[in-house]
């Protein structure tokens, strides 16, 4: 990227400004995500940096909004913080319950999406698959079709079939939304998959099941796990379908955030946002490590 020594002044100026522009765009990408982290420690209920915060005065910072996440919705938030207080948090705190629901729904929809999606990806990546393109287009479409249309359709369908207001309904809907991600990541891992390995296994007397679990599975596992993580994030972040088909008491984290933003936006939302940002950093790291591992396993070296 470095400029050759014979570059003219104009080119040098342009190159410098190009780098500055790129820097600004990177700032635009990342700043909004990082800005919530310091703001969530604001001692005041404001959404901006107070003077105390800017002068790094410790009294300008507090963890009161994180505390509110625990106490909001509790029966006796004022009690001493012993084991019964924590039991109260676990049973009644609104955000904790939302997190429990989100994890339950996320776990089962991820499981469903990953198992079905991986099997389908194995079939779709075989060259002899009939109607490959058309079927692939149908299976990917939940990612493309606007979520409001999916949610509206599910609302009509679930109220007719009696799946409305149930966990099963939400799990099925979220699995559908996560499936495209599983298919895309797993088929990407299967590109360049050396089929002579499975033939060799069969040749050495392995049954198809043994071949799958001993040969295929370890090779595609990184792709499967990143697909599963994508599916989990999709479910964990989904609010529209939940708003349309879930019962009123089925709160999830995004739904609770949505309500919080629409009604009275409090800095507690920012502390949830900070926690979610940290989770996404962890997920991104995991996926990145998996991707490199998969490249190494398949012998595809990065260009």
């Amino acid at each position: 990227m470095a400029l050759p020594s014979h570059a003219s002044t104009l080119e040098k100026v342009w190159h410098k400004s190009y780098l500055v522009i790129c820097g600004l765009i990177f700032l635009f990408l990342i700043a909004p995500i990082l800005i919530v982290i310091p703001l969530s420690f604001n001692a005041e209920p404001y959404f901006t940096f107070t003077e105390k915060m800017l002068s790094f005065d410790p009294t300008g910072y507090s963890t009161r909004w994180y505390d509110l996440l625990l106490t909001f919705g509790m029966d006796q938030p004022e009690n001493t913080r012993d084991s019964s207080w924590w039991a109260d948090v676990w049973a009644n705190a609104a955000w904790v319950n939302a997190a429990k629901n989100s994890v339950i729904i996320g776990f089962f929809s991820t499981l469903l999406a990953t198992v079905l999606g991986t099997l389908a990806a194995l079939g779709l990546s075989r060259p002899e698959m009939p109607f490959r393109r058309a079927i692939m287009a149908v299976l990917i479409s939940p990612m493309i079709v606007p979520i409001i249309i999916t949610a509206t359709g599910l609302f009509f369908f679930y109220s007719m079939t009696g799946l409305a207001n149930s966990y099963v309904g939400v799990v099925m809907a979220h699995a559908t939304l996560g499936i495209p991600f599983v298919i895309i990541t797993v088929t990407a891992t299967l590109v360049g998959f050396d089929h002579s390995l499975t033939r060799a296994a069969a040749n050495l007397g392995a049954t198809p099941t043994t071949t799958f679990f001993k040969i295929t599975m370890p090779l595609i596992l990184p792709g499967v796990i990143s697909g599963a993580l994508f599916a989990f994030v999709t479910s964990f972040d989904e609010v529209v379908v939940v708003l349309f088909v879930a019962a009123h008491d089925q709160q999830t984290i995004p739904r609770q955030m949505w309500n919080g933003i629409r009604e009275q936006i409090s800095p507690a939302i920012l502390s949830v946002a900070t926690i979610l940002v940290i989770i996404s950093i962890l997920l991104l790291t995991t996926v990145e490590i998996l991707r490199r591992r998969s490249e190494r396993l398949r012998g595809v070296s990065p260009q």
Partner: protein
């Protein structure tokens, strides 16, 4: 195997010396075909469970939505909520509509049929539901139905005068036109409404009153804003993707985090961040005031309007533009540009004639993807859009949750879906969904 003789199985390998056979005596061709068919079946059965699952949880609901957009039994069938029994309603007046062509002014027979039907409605406790159905297309009709149905049992002939006595709106030709439209459960009237069209007294399709035209305007706005966002995304993504593609891999992998982290961060978190930044008491305005760029009393309104929608959506969709551009730019051989330069091209000409044309596939892929995602956006406009930053999705949600005109919501959704599917088909043709990459 059309060339294989029918009694192939009877032939011994010796007789069939010219043919290759497998060990068990089958001709090789047949054995191969059988093996291929088996492989095909195997692949198909791997995909089948998921395909059925998606049919049930996705295709069927969409089908139901499309059905809803052309079917509204509000004027024809009453469903009892507790028992679920369906009763045909408005039978007499529907018969009259069938017997008389569109545009016939209502006569005494029509009013008599109407009065009889209203009595039935009253017994079923359904005047409100039927009135709501008519109210979708002619406001004020709900109260007209409930009010008249209360007195329906006591009505005496001549029914024309009796009904007009209760409310002279019963003589309104538009009301009769709407009722005629609703007299069949299957109707395209919701699509007409979604396109700001209506039927006049004689059944002709005309535009609705100018101050009630909202939907076409909103479709246009959705289109214009999506195009604008796509363009802004392209302008911002191109230099970044170029930088990432030309840097050595160890640096670009690091910088890639800046692109992928937003991608992995919750949509609601990103929208919240923008609300925090753009509020009139928010970080951006505070910074501008602190640096003296603007006065404290003239803080810029950047949220709850189109500006907020554009900024937040650009940020959210930018990675979808950067990633396809990057994957197209990475393998571009830098020696082409160098060759152009050494042949005397200025750096601008070399970029314009050599580099840029090679990146067009990436631009197409990214722009289509961003545009497809932008036209259907709901969450961000709903939270930061205010009144004039709303898109068509928000209106669908409004009709689903507030006005409860589900058939109109379904018709709007079907129109949006049609547009998105055309773009999706285009994307598949031009880019191929197999090439969709996630990070």
């Amino acid at each position: 195997m059309s060339d294989a003789p029918a009694d192939m199985s009877l032939m011994s390998p010796a007789q069939d010396a010219g043919r290759l056979t497998t060990k068990d005596g089958r001709p090789l061709k047949a054995a191969l075909a059988a093996a291929e068919a088996q492989a095909k079946r195997k692949a198909f059965f791997l995909v089948l469970p998921l395909f059925l699952f998606v049919l049930i949880t996705f295709v069927a609901p969409i089908g139901q939505l499309l059905h809803r957009s052309i079917n509204n039994p509000g004027f024809t069938t009453h469903t009892d909520i507790s028992s679920g029994t369906k009763t045909p309603i408005m039978v007499n007046i529907r018969d009259w509509f069938d017997a008389n062509p569109a545009g016939t002014p209502p006569d005494e027979a029509a009013y008599e049929a109407l009065a009889k039907d209203l009595v039935v409605l009253r017994e079923l406790k359904a005047p409100g539901i039927v009135g709501t159905r008519i109210n979708y297309e002619r406001s004020g009709s709900r109260s007209l139905f409930t009010k008249t149905a209360r007195k329906a049992a006591k009505l005496e002939p001549p029914y024309t005068e009796a009904l007009l006595d209760i409310d002279e709106d019963w003589g309104d030709p538009q009301l009769w036109s709407v009722m005629r439209g609703a007299s069949s459960a299957y109707t395209l009237n919701f699509y007409l409404a979604a396109l700001d069209l209506t039927r006049d007294e004689t059944g002709e399709i005309v535009s609705v009153n100018e101050n009630r035209q909202v939907y076409v305007k909103l479709f246009t706005r959705t289109l214009v804003l999506s195009l604008l966002i796509t363009f802004v995304c392209f302008v911002l993504a191109y230099p970044v993707a170029h930088l990432l593609a030309t840097l050595p891999l160890r640096y670009s992998n690091l910088l890639m985090i800046f692109v992928l982290l937003p991608f992995w961060t919750s949509l609601l978190v990103r929208t919240t961040s923008w609300m925090v930044l753009l509020q009139s008491q928010g970080v951006v305005n505070d910074a501008l005031v602190a640096t003296g760029t603007i006065a404290d009393d003239s803080r810029i309104q950047m949220m709850y309007n189109q500006t907020g929608t554009i900024i937040a959506m650009t940020h959210i969709l930018l990675p979808f533009m950067i990633l396809p551009l990057y994957s197209v730019m990475r393998p571009i051989n830098p020696s082409y540009v160098r060759a152009a330069r050494s042949l005397g091209a200025t750096s601008w000409t070399a970029f314009r004639r050599i580099y840029f044309p090679q990146t067009i596939p990436g631009i197409g892929a990214g722009a289509l993807l961003v545009f497809i995602l932008a036209v259907g956006y709901y969450i961000t406009p709903a939270l930061v859009g205010g009144a004039d930053g709303q898109l068509i999705s928000n209106l669908i949600a409004f009709h689903m949750t507030k006005s409860l005109n589900w058939s109109l919501a379904a018709a709007l959704a079907a129109l949006l879906l049609g547009g998105v599917l055309v773009l999706y088909w285009l994307y598949d043709r031009l880019v191929g969904i197999d090439n969709l990459k996630l990070g």
